[in-house]
Symmetry: C2
Subunit: 474 residues, 2 copies
């Protein structure tokens, strides 16, 4: 089933025996300790290893050990925030520990490059979910029942492919395919290549319903899940296991699948890391474009990554809308952060300066009061270059803009006007915002990661997309 | 009924007794001669004076004597083109004669500043129209029956008002209110002021149905006449007497009506003729705007005015669409012609040069073939600044434009590419087109009429719209 090209890949992504022993050893050890700590608290919890370690579908060097404690449904939420975390901390003594919150708290621990998540959930029946993590044991069970050694390899290939093309992970920053989703796709289509072949032909609406919950009435699924791709969760018909997938990632995967099938290459799994462009190179590239760039750099607020990235994307869009409202032509935008010291929103504009004159459309003439107000405002107004004049049924004026610089407009406005920037970001901006325009942006490129990001932003083309790969002649 | 302000107007616009005697004398004289000539041909036609002279509603110094020959319905169309015109020519010997065509031919004659139209039509029953002019005798009859001296004055005021604000005339160049339409409005509302008051409150849909043809089912009229204002012709329920009125003229009239009612002024009737701006003044004005202007100057094709202006407006729009398709930002456009030697299409652009980079949206990724073609076209393409990149579900590239000059694009393209420019105009352009950009346009301003037009285009504001006139404080 596995083709020659992929055998070489599998050799690189399947955990070694040594890694397996280490991971399973730690997993079982910590599982037992959590169990003991909870028992010491008088809580009868089933503590189990879940996720890719339980299913043996993790990628080499990328183990994420999920230890789930299935608590009785009557356990108070308060217990999860206090005594459960204490028990988890005790059980992982010696590890670097970070408290994390999804819907409820859990503990993330690292030791010697191995990551562990100690997660509480409720032991419930399907459909009676109390917290979002309650489904996980069922996910593990569902996949395990249908797995064999061959399928594990196929799943690893799909996960590694997704990772290589930048589409792996349901976190907000990525908006891609979760490990569980990769497992479901592989189970559904029967393998890595088959998944790629099927994905190549996907067309909206994309509905994958393994357990046939919506058989005979797929329109109900389309109505319920307003997402670009729907993969009905086999353990919960009311959940789309692909709800995190952003359109961009969905179609990047589809396109990469097509390119790979046409000409398989390790490049898709292991993209070449490009050299970090030097600030001077970036400067030349920016200037050569003949457009303007604006970068808003600030210290990101302290928040879990999903919260932070959600807010960054919102801020990026809010500033974009603001610029457009002010009549700037925004070509593209993006945001970047190291999640700690620096966050940057980047905009490419046709020009930093407004066109000399802008059209301003007023009310229809038949709206008497509004027309009167419009005339009172603009007749004899020094800013008017032309008008008021009637075009079709409306009053219109053409206003002199003074060619205002977007950098100055942003400087003046951010922190003073409601733009829809999330509060935490806005507070950070008020204290630490620096606005850089055009060449000034190069100073930020002293940060290698930002420099790499900016270069990729300017290039745009995904790394797996190469000229020789698309030509039908090869 | 007539207010003090309007009495002064009436003194200027009512024909003097001398003018009346002259006009009626000529009208009756020519009417008789046409009758005789037709009788000599053995045709029993009723020859009548129609239009504003018949109704005594013409404006002083502006008589247009319409002599209609009501021919038997069985008269062949051929007769109208040949022997009828001969008879008309004989009857108006000594006049300057020009053959004109509306739907069928007629003769326009001028002598000593008096204009005569010798028009053939068929004597038909309402609804059994053979040619478009057959309604005219019924229009005259309808209005005459309802007229009195007071209403004649009211009609003259409305016509003069329309004329003063540039909304008088159903010809394509104006797209305004015909004399008959002014009469109908005055009859309907009972007077000049009342018409202005009612028009001030007009809101779409505007339906005036004096004879109540659509009473109880106005939606039929709205469905039948897809025009901004509908005035059902009292002599023909299937005709909108206001079908020639363009939205711009409709709403200019409405707005002027409001301004006049707020503060009546002779200005509306007799706009001050502004001095012709000198080329140097125009040059300064153009440069100060900071935008770009392009003028296409050419000799207009020989055609009756309605045909010519129809084609000029079409050409103006076609070039505008072309420029927009090429990504130029057209702020405004207009056209001008002396109808003989010179025609000019004028465009104001944000800039003559394209932005350095333009966004080019490709197919959705799920259109496999189109996506493949898009990638083949743009991967490795030197014109690409960014991409191909997936945005939402589509391929997108950002292309370098080279900042192409609109003047050069037009030079290269006009006459070579189908843009939708009417054929006669295109032929004229091929032989005589000169394209002027920015200051180069000033050379055209040596023509005083064009200079006046361009200045009005730049100002935009209607002459009757003055600052002190709108303020509610005055």
């Amino acid at each position: 089933m596995v083709q020659e090209e992929e055998k070489q890949i599998l050799e690189k992504i399947t955990p070694t025996e040594e890694e397996r022993r280490l991971v399973y050893g730690i997993a079982e050890e910590v599982r037992r300790r959590v169990e003991e700590e909870l028992r010491a608290l008088g809580v009868e919890a089933e503590v189990r290893v879940e996720g890719s370690v339980a299913k043996d579908t993790w990628l080499r060097g990328d183990a994420d050990i999920d230890i789930f404690s299935l608590l009785p449904p009557e356990t108070p939420k308060e217990f999860l925030k206090t005594r459960f975390l204490d028990a988890a901390r005790k059980a992982t003594k010696g590890y670097r520990q970070v408290e994390r919150w999804a819907e409820h708290p859990y503990l993330e621990c690292t030791l010697d490059g191995i990551r562990l998540n100690i997660v509480p959930c409720y032991k419930t029946r399907p459909g009676k979910w109390i917290s979002a993590t309650d489904r996980t044991p069922y996910h593990t069970e569902y996949v395990l029942k249908r797995l064999n050694e061959g399928l594990k390899a196929e799943i690893r290939l799909l996960k590694a492919f997704m990772k290589g093309i930048g589409c792996y992970g349901a976190e907000i920053r990525i908006g891609g395919f979760s490990g569980y989703l990769c497992e479901l796709l592989t189970l559904n289509y029967g393998g890595f290549r088959r998944t790629l072949e099927e994905a190549s032909e996907w067309r909206p609406p994309i509905l994958i319903d393994i357990e046939g919950y919506y058989e005979g009435h797929p329109e109900d699924a389309l109505e319920l899940f307003q997402h670009p791709i729907i993969v009905v969760d086999p353990v919960d018909e009311a959940r789309n296991a692909a709800s995190a997938v952003k359109p961009k990632r969905l179609w990047e995967f589809v396109s990469a699948a097509r390119q790979y099938l046409k000409k398989p290459s390790q490049r898709f799994f292991f993209p070449r890391e490009k050299p970090v462009p030097k600030p001077e190179q970036v400067r030349k590239k920016l200037l050569a474009r003949g457009t303007s760039h604006i970068a808003l750099a600030f210290r990101p607020p302290k928040a879990p990554p999903d919260i932070l990235w959600g807010q960054l994307f919102k801020a990026e869009q809010a500033v974009c809308r603001f610029l457009k409202r002010k009549e700037y032509r925004v070509l593209r935008s993006a945001c970047w952060s190291d999640e700690e010291k620096q966050a940057v929103l980047v905009y490419e504009l046709e020009s930093r300066r407004l066109p000399a004159i802008k059209r301003h459309v007023g009310p229809p003439v038949w709206m008497t009061q509004h027309s009167q107000q419009f005339l009172e405002k603009y007749l004899g107004n020094k800013e008017v270059a032309t008008g008021p004049v009637i075009e079709e049924d409306r009053w219109v004026v053409y206003l002199k803009t003074g060619r205002t610089d977007a950098k100055n407009v942003l400087k003046r406005t951010i922190g003073k006007e409601k733009m829809g920037i999330p509060k935490a970001i806005l507070e950070s901006m008020k204290k630490t915002l620096k606005i850089h325009a055009d060449e000034e942006i190069c100073i930020l490129c002293e940060n290698a990661e930002f420099s790499r990001f900016l270069n990729e932003f300017l290039v745009g083309r995904p790394s797996w997309l190469e000229h020789n790969n698309t030509s039908s002649k090869t």
